[in-house]
């Protein structure tokens, strides 16, 4: 079915390159341009979210209140989480999907280019809405990125309604993006590209897209319930009216847990692409990787209440969610095993994408292990809502999802702009990131185990040293990302031109097109043997 490409449609396109000027970007239906816009937008959000994190870390540098009052502190922690999850990590992987999926499966573009344009251009509006809430009376949302009721319903500031509309918009954007990926993968694969021949990045994104289509509507539902609770007299989450605040947590985490896999699965795909390239071996256990990804996605729907062990659940429910969560470590373990087995006896070289991929494997595994600790219901009572949780999810998000995305940018940047980045500078940028990310988040394990609660602007004196280390690390980590901007700029302006096969060990259709990838590729589908 993939062969059914209407040929004269594409002949028209072949004669012109990219349109000029601003209209190229506003009206763009080209997957490469839209991918670029997604990546730039997500990096901008990453910097804004990072700035909020630095304000938080500056406040936490020493005990007592220095820079911001608790009300403002709460707004910054909340917006940091929202911006990073929905503005930085998710759009970054969508950008990579836009750029790479058509190139990897031999498609001329995404299947629904007009919708692709729309799903990107919704995002700036959604985040303008969200960020403008800082300037409203009552300030920005201050109830944490998980917006638990009744904090967000009864006690939420007026700007909560901006937040609700913003979440609706970015939810629509994500759903459209996901539908586009699914249709592209199902309909536009080059002849001979069977499902089990697809590159693993395409597979992980295909599964991620299904997760998005299934849980983003749940998120839309829960914010709609909040909206009606706030303004239209319903009582979904108000005990006085017969509702239940705990219900909020159930509905939210039914979205929230698959959401964490939405953020990490594309990074799994990236690691599975980069590690074989620089080990100069085929990926070990391709089909087990596919099945492992699918089973992680399925299991992610039955573990949500492990976020809620302290709500007073009955023991049998705690046991169920504890065991279900622990089972997820089996397919995840399969993946880590396969990555290591791929490297086994390979001819490994350590270019920057590989460095990032290796750091990803090691640090994500650390985050996975602290996740297992949190999954144990009896000990979670101790860890719940402490900095241990903060350490855990930052280990799976920063050196997990974000290192994965940075690795992907280094890996494919030469293909995108036809020039090689400065390997030395990039390696420096990697090692600084590696050191500072650990300096920032590793001490949080200890302050958390010692009992420091999260989301509080002040803390008692015994946590002072750990927090000082974290804050120093955070500022270093932030500055290192400015170096990242420079490396990319330098690559774009002054990098050495590269040929089509950028990395000698790389396999896949994306390396058969010239570098930089022309505006239109695969107008005639390649044939896969």
């Amino acid at each position: 079915m993939s062969a059914a490409i209407d040929s004269h449609d594409h002949d028209d396109h072949e004669h012109h390159g990219a349109p000029k000027g601003i209209k190229r970007w506003i009206y763009s239906t080209n997957h490469k341009d839209i991918g670029t816009m997604y990546l730039i937008f997500s990096f901008l959000m990453f910097l804004i979210g990072g700035l909020f994190a630095l304000i938080v870390r500056a406040e936490l540098f020493s005990p007592g209140l220095q820079f911001v009052q608790p009300e403002l502190f709460n707004q910054f922690t909340t917006m940091h989480g929202l911006i990073m999850v929905f503005g930085a990590v998710m759009p970054a992987t969508v950008g990579l999907a836009n750029w790479m999926i058509p190139l990897m499966i031999g498609a001329p573009d995404m299947a629904l280019p007009r919708m692709n344009n729309m799903s990107f251009w919704i995002l700036p509006f959604a985040f303008t809405l969200l960020l403008s809430s800082f300037f409203l009376p009552g300030g920005a949302p201050n109830f944490g990125w998980t917006f638990y009721a009744p904090l967000s319903t009864t006690y939420g500031p007026p700007s909560t309604d901006f937040f609700i509309l913003g979440v609706h918009l970015l939810g629509i954007s994500s759903i459209m993006g996901a539908i586009n990926v699914i249709v592209t993968v199902m309909n536009l694969r080059a002849p001979g590209m069977t499902y089990m021949k697809m590159p693993l990045f395409v597979w992980t994104w295909f599964i991620t897209a299904f997760l998005l289509v299934m849980v983003m509507p749940i998120l839309a539902g829960v914010v709609t319930m909040m909206l009606t609770d706030r303004h239209f007299g319903t009582a979904f989450f108000t005990a006085a009216g017969g509702g239940d605040p705990v219900l909020f947590q159930h509905v939210f985490w039914f979205f929230g847990h698959p959401e964490v896999y939405i953020m990490i699965l594309p990074a799994f795909g990236i690691a599975s692409t980069i590690i074989p390239t620089f080990s100069r071996k085929k990926l070990f256990g391709y089909s087990s990787m596919v099945y492992a990804t699918a089973s992680i996605a399925l299991l992610s729907f039955v573990v949500w209440a492990h976020h809620m062990f302290t709500t007073g659940m009955p023991v049998f429910a705690e046991l169920f969610f504890m065991y279900a969560t622990v089972i997820i470590s089996v397919p995840t373990g399969v993946k880590v095993f396969n990555w290591i087995a791929t490297m086994w006896k390979g001819s490994i070289t350590y270019e920057t994408p590989m460095l990032y991929a290796l750091a990803f494997v090691v640090l994500f595994t650390i985050g996975g292990f602290s996740g297992l600790m949190l999954a144990m219901a009896p000990v979670d009572m101790q860890y719940h809502d402490t900095y241990f949780v903060v350490a855990h999810f930052h280990y799976v998000l920063f050196p997990g999802a974000i290192f994965g995305s940075i690795a992907a940018v280094y890996y494919w940047m030469p293909k995108w702009c036809g020039r090689m980045y400065n390997e030395k500078l990039a390696a420096v940028q990697f090692w600084l990131s590696m050191i500072f990310v650990n300096l920032t988040f590793f001490p949080m394990h200890f302050s958390g185990l010692a009992g420091m609660p999260r989301r509080i602007p002040d803390y008692s004196l015994q946590f002072a040293d750990f927090n000082m280390l974290s804050s120093i690390g955070a500022f270093g980590l932030g500055l290192t990302q400015l170096l990242f901007i420079y490396v990319l700029y330098d690559c774009y302006k002054r990098g050495k031109p590269v040929d089509a096969q950028v990395w000698d060990g790389a396999e896949g259709l994306e390396w058969t097109v010239p570098s930089p990838a022309p505006h239109h590729t695969f107008t005639v589908p390649p044939v896969i043997k």
């Binding site: 309909n187 289509v213 839309a220 319930m225 509905v251 039914f254 979205f255």
Partner: protein, 186 residues
């Protein structure tokens, strides 16, 4: 439309159906949650309907269970609200009577609604109220006070591991909600 376009829109339609279905499922979780909690009693919600005491409950047991009473007021409600006794030792299968005291400290007329919750949650299924102020709204004029009765018995089938049971009432100010519909009427 090309063949490709037709195939695309077929998949898009199915996926949109899935999106709508999942949006609906989000709302379906609300009644599902309520039904599940009612059947299993896992969230400590007690029944809103008065239980009927039957004589065959009266089967002599040696067990005694401590029932603790807790009352709390939601933020900003100018009432005093407390149990008349903090705890009672009760025998399952026997009917007991106690009361809660509420006092409106302000000069305004206020309607309150008490929401019960039992801990441990699973014990909620065995806690039966034959008469409870929480079945109705409480209307107190300014400075008025009232003793509100609670008549209950504990099912003799309550699991053996339950030695202490806490009954907690949260009092909510629902004056606004009550006023809204009545003010609409002439």
């Amino acid at each position: 439309m090309t063949e490709q376009g037709q195939q695309n829109s077929k998949i898009v339609k199915r996926l949109l159906l899935l999106v709508v279905g999942m949006f609906g499922f989000g709302f379906a979780m609300v009644p599902l949650y309520d039904v599940l909690c009612e059947i299993t009693g896992i969230n400590g919600k007690t029944s809103n309907v008065a239980a009927v005491y039957s004589e065959d409950e009266k089967e002599k047991t040696e067990r005694e269970i401590t029932v603790q009473f807790v009352a709390s007021i939601k933020r900003g409600m100018p009432w005093e609200f407390k149990p008349s006794v903090a705890k009672m030792n009760v025998v399952p299968g026997v009917v007991y009577k106690t009361s809660f005291y509420a006092h409106n400290l302000s000069n305004d007329n206020i309607t309150g609604q008490a929401i019960p919750s039992v801990a441990p949650g699973l014990a909620a299924l065995y806690f039966n109220k034959t008469e409870c102020f929480c079945f109705n709204q409480q209307y107190l004029k300014g400075q008025e006070d009232v003793d509100m009765p609670l008549v209950f018995f504990i099912d003799k089938d309550i699991p053996d591991d339950v030695k202490t049971l806490t009954l907690s009432y949260s009092m909510f100010n629902i004056t606004e909600q009550v006023k809204a519909p009545s003010s609409a009427a002439p």
